[in-house]
C-alpha cells in the first residue's frame, strides 16, 4: 500500500483549485460567445468572472510555490505543480479574451449578418477544444490532448480564410469589420491557449516537451 505523504494534501488542494478555475473559465468563454452571437449584455458578469479567474491564477501560483518550498517535490509531483501553474495561466487568459470579446461588442455596437456564420463556427470549435483540453488534464488522457492540437488546425484555417473574406468583401460599416476581426482573432488565441493547456497536460503525464509554435 502506498503511504500517504504530506505533499499529497497540497497536490489535492491544487487540483481542486484548478478544477474550479477550469469550470469557471469554460463558462466565461461560453457566455461571451453566446452574447456575441445571440446578443445581450453580459459585460459585467464576464468582467467579474475574468477577475475571479485572475484571482484563482494568483492562488494557484502561491500554492505551487508553497509546495515547492515546503516539500521539494520531484518527478511527477514537480511536473504536476509546474503544469498547474502553466494551465492556470491559460485559464486566466480564457477569461481575459472572453472579456475582450464582450467589451468590443459593447463598444462598437451590434454586428449584423456579416461574419456571423464564421464566429459561430469558430466559437463552437473553440469551445470543444477548451472542453477537451480540460477533460484531458482532468483525466490524464494523452489521446484527447493530442486531438486538441489537431483540432487547432481547423480553427486556424477558418481564421485565415475569414480574414481573406474580410479583405475581399468587407462590410459597409467599419465598426462591424473591426468588431468581427478582433473577435475571430480572440477566438483563435483562445484556441491556442487550449493547445497550450493540452501540451502542458502531455508534459505533466510523461515529461514530453511539445513545442507547437514555430
Amino acid at each position: 500500500m502506498e503511504k500517504t505523504r504530506l505533499l499529497d494534501k497540497g497536490l489535492v488542494d491544487l487540483s481542486n483549485l484548478l478544477n474550479k478555475m477550469a469550470q469557471l473559465a469554460e463558462r466565461t468563454v461560453s457566455a461571451s460567445i453566446q452574447a456575441y452571437i445571440e446578443g445581450g449584455d453580459v459585460t459585467l458578469q464576464v468582467r467579474q468572472w475574468s477577475d475571479t479567474l485572475l484571482n484563482y491564477y494568483n492562488r494557484v501560483s502561491e500554492k505551487a510555490l508553497e509546495l515547492i518550498a515546503r516539500y521539494q517535490p520531484v518527478a511527477t509531483d514537480l511536473r504536476m505543480i509546474r503544469a498547474c501553474m502553466e494551465i492556470s495561466y491559460d485559464l486566466s487568459r480564457f477569461g481575459r479574451y472572453a472579456l475582450d470579446i464582450v467589451t468590443i461588442f459593447q463598444a462598437l455596437g451590434g454586428r449584423g449578418e456579416f461574419g456571423q456564420e464564421t464566429v459561430s463556427e469558430m466559437g463552437q470549435r473553440t469551445m470543444k477544444m477548451i472542453e477537451a483540453s480540460i477533460e484531458a488534464f482532468r483525466t490524464r488522457n494523452t489521446e484527447l490532448a493530442e486531438k486538441v492540437m489537431e483540432d487547432d488546425e481547423g480553427v486556424d484555417e477558418l481564421y485565415r480564410k475569414h480574414l481573406q473574406d474580410c479583405v475581399k468583401n468587407p462590410p459597409k460599416k467599419i465598426e462591424q469589420l473591426v468588431s468581427d476581426v478582433l473577435t475571430v482573432r480572440h477566438l483563435e488565441r483562445i484556441a491556442d491557449h487550449a493547445v497550450d493547456l493540452a501540451n502542458t497536460t502531455l508534459y505533466m503525464i510523461d515529461g514530453r516537451q511539445v513545442t507547437p509554435w514555430k
Binding site: 502506498e2 503511504k3 505523504r5 505533499l7 521539494q72 517535490p73 520531484v74 518527478a75 511527477t76 509531483d77 514537480l78 511536473r79 515529461g207
Partner: protein, 253 residues
Amino acid sequence: MSEKFKIETIDLSLRFGSTEVLKKLNIGIRENCVTAIMGPSGCGKSTLIRSLNRMNDLVSSCQIEGKVLLDGANIYDPETDVVELRRRVGMVFQKPNPFPKSIYDNIAFGPRIHQMARGKELDKTVERSLRDAALWDEVKDRLRASAFSLSGGQQQRLCIARALAVRPEVLLLDEPCSALDPAATAKIESLMVALKKDYTVVVVTHNMQQAARVSDFTAFLYLGELIEYDETKSVFNYPSNKLTEDFITGRFG
C-alpha cells in the same frame, strides 16, 4: 562535464556469506563530477562505495566477483598495492572521526605515513588541505589545538582535509552530513561541489534533496541492483523507472 570514466564497475557482485548484497553492477563514475548513490536502507550503497577502494576486503565473509577499474586497471588484481589504492581513493565516513591528536597532526598523519612531505613542505600540505576543505580560516590560529575542540561540522571538514592531504584522485563520502546540522551540511555540500574541480567525488546519501543539489549524476540502487543511473536533472525530473519515481517521490523507502 567529463565523459571519461575514472572508475568503472563491470558485473560487480558482492556477497557477505550467503547474502548477495550487490548484483552484477555496471556503473561508470565520471571524472571530475559528483556522483550520488541513493537508495533505501540495505540496498547496498555503502557496500558499493566501500568496494571502490577495497574496504570490504577487511570483512572475512566477503566474496567479490567482477571488476572495478580505476583508470582502466582492475583494483582487485592480486598485484594491486592496496595502501596506494586507498591513497588514490580516499574515504570520509558518516560520523566525523578525527584522531585524538592536534588539528595539524590529523592532517599531517597521511603525508607522514606515505613519506610525502616534511618540515615546511608538510606545513604547506596542511595549509593546502585545510584550504581545500574550506576550514583554514577557522583554524589557522589554533593548529595545535585538539581536533576534538572543533564542532561536528568542522570535524567533518577536518576529516575531508585529512583525506585530501595525501592528494587522492577520488573522494568517497559515505553519508557525510547525516550527523551534521543544516548550516554545517550546507558547508559540506558547497565543498563537495567545489572539490570536483580537482577530484572525482562519489557520495552516498539518504537525503535525496542533497543528491539533487550537489551531484551531476545520480544512481539509484534497490536490493543490490542498479535501477537507474543518469544525469541528476533527468533522474529528478523524468525518472525512467517506476521504482525510482516511487522512491524519490517518497512513496516507499
